[in-house]
């Protein structure tokens, strides 16, 4: 993979999604800009998306990664729902990352649902970029 996020000629496709009613989108947009600058293809869903809409977009856009951004405290039920729907659609290869206001104590539960990694408030943009590149390469 080259420095532009290209992997065997294909750019990494990431969807940044805002599920539910939470309207805090600054973090989602900042991460989206960082991934774009790192050469990835970024699809941003906009606010107030249902889990079904997110899964549909993931299918249509054929994304490698879904980044869920949640600040309201509802990350556990929303992530659990998403993982269930992805499995039902056979999207088990899609990497799911969760960002936002996520307490340390909930990290394990999220990973238990099948979330690959959690990047809470304060995470470094470089770390998110390199994590995605490394994992997609694997």
């Amino acid at each position: 993979m080259d420095k532009n996020g290209m992997q065997s000629g294909k750019r990494i496709r990431v969807m940044i999604a805002k599920p539910g009613l939470d309207g805090h989108d600054t973090g989602a947009k900042v991460v989206a800009y960082a991934l774009k600058d790192a050469g990835m293809e970024v699809i941003y869903t906009g606010l107030h998306r249902t889990i079904d809409e997110i899964v549909r977009t993931a299918l249509e856009e054929n994304v490698d990664v879904i980044g869920l951004s949640i600040y309201s405290g509802a990350h556990l039920p929303l992530s659990e729902k998403l993982m269930g729907r992805l499995e039902a659609e056979g999207l088990t290869d899609t990497m799911v990352l969760v960002g936002g206001n996520i307490p340390q104590k909930d990290m394990e539960a999220l990973k238990g649902y099948g979330v690959t990694e959690v990047f809470p408030v304060g995470a470094r943009l470089d770390d998110i970029v390199s994590f995605i590149k490394k994992k997609v390469e694997e």
Binding site: G23, T26, V30, R124
Partner: protein, 536 residues
Amino acid sequence: MKKPASDEFKEVVLESGITVKPVYGPDDVRDIPYGEEIGRPGEFPFTRGIHPFMYRKRPWTMRQYSGFGTAPETNQRFKWLLQQGQTALNVAFDLPTQLGLDSDDPFAEEEVGRVGMAIDTLRDMEEAFTDIPIEKISTSLTINPVASVMLAMYLAVAEKQGIPWKNVRGTTQNDILKEYIGRGTWIFPIKPSIRLIGDMVAFCSDRVPRFNPFSVCGYHIRESGATPVQEIAYAFEIAATYIREVLDRGIPIDRFAGRIAFNFDIFGNLWEQVAKFRAGRRLWAKVIRERFGAQNPRSMILRMIAGGGGGGLTIQQPENNIVRGAYYALISALSGTQTMALCSYDEAYTIPSKKAALISLRTMQILADEMGLTDTVDPLGGSYYIEWLTREMEKRIVACMEEVEKYGGMVKAVEDGYIQKEVSRQAYMKEKKIQSGEFVKVGVNKYVMEEETPQIEFHPFNPGVVEEQKKRLGEIKASRNEKEVGDALLALKQTAQTDENVMPHILKAVKCYATLGEITGVFKEVFGKFKEPIGL
């Protein structure tokens, strides 16, 4: 005087892009005439404050944001805050309520009672204010697209408590344009949303004269990434948009401008924020007088809550946020705000614990009672640096407002996503500066420590709240007069389709216990939904 070599000093550039000199003196302020540009407090252009004696006469109002779970739970917290000496309430609603969804809506389920209290019908509002003397306090309702419904419920509660509407004091946040820019609780398209604001202003100026029907929030725009200059400039352009809506109804500016309120943010460089507020007061007075032709000086004053500061708090070393909060409160006091609220030190994590909320309240009380912040008006006025910086900020705010006007005004700029993009690019650039260490945040990119998981007491979320709230809603639905509700909703729909004021019909609907979701549903049917411009 020998000029220092440029490499002797680190260059200081404020967030607003202003380069700061190491020393200021009389030459820097020579062409700022005291009379016209600064003036006495309480007199045009109000640079030093909107009242002649400011805090000497009455300290700032202290108003912490609170609310969670069900109305009865929130009622307990309200009473406790008032017992601790808080002088006003600021009500937090849960997200479903903020978006006009009932607690039994499938899209609401994960969010019921989480970030604020759930309100489905008038019954919830009645219980939230049980045994609270609402004629003695002012209440701020932090709600936007459905502010008209919450105002109607609050007025209905007042009526039931036997309090005449003319004595009801408070504010509905009701600034929909900033919701499209940051914060994100929008429902309807822009134009009908602004019409609802106009309806509320017209209704209040007639019947609830001590109520502020909207509070324009630079706050959330700043929290979403805007610079202090953009914060004020965008807020003023938003306010101008609402003013035009009301003027178009033939209501003269002096009839309602005195009730316009603002909500601004206080984190960042101390001097830059103080200058921002002083410049804001001066510029707003000029805008109202010159652009809108107001005659009454009361119309020209910038009344504000300056508080929060959440954007400056850090997850790392959270106790440092107590110290930051104290400095932010100092900024707010030095700025001459009317109302102050502070984010609590645990607020980067959770809904504030009682302990954290109390520390915030005590911080403000210590400033007011121990530190001399209420002794004299605008103590920084006349400082070479502050007066120079106030003027620089004013110039830049004017230029930023002109950019918006040139683009075609705030409605178009938001519809196209232009403002959203400006603000989110700014957020990205700042985050990059924080991550590179160029913009210092203690504990984040300087004096970093290996930390244990911080001892934060998380606000316990009670998953039972959803079922409880659904049960409460079910009981109301079973006991109300369905025909009355149906008639009220139909009348509301017919009115929404015309230019007539919808407020009396919303009142009628809430009084027969129509739900928030039912009323919002009527508006969705008539107005449609906002289409978010998604561009990065």
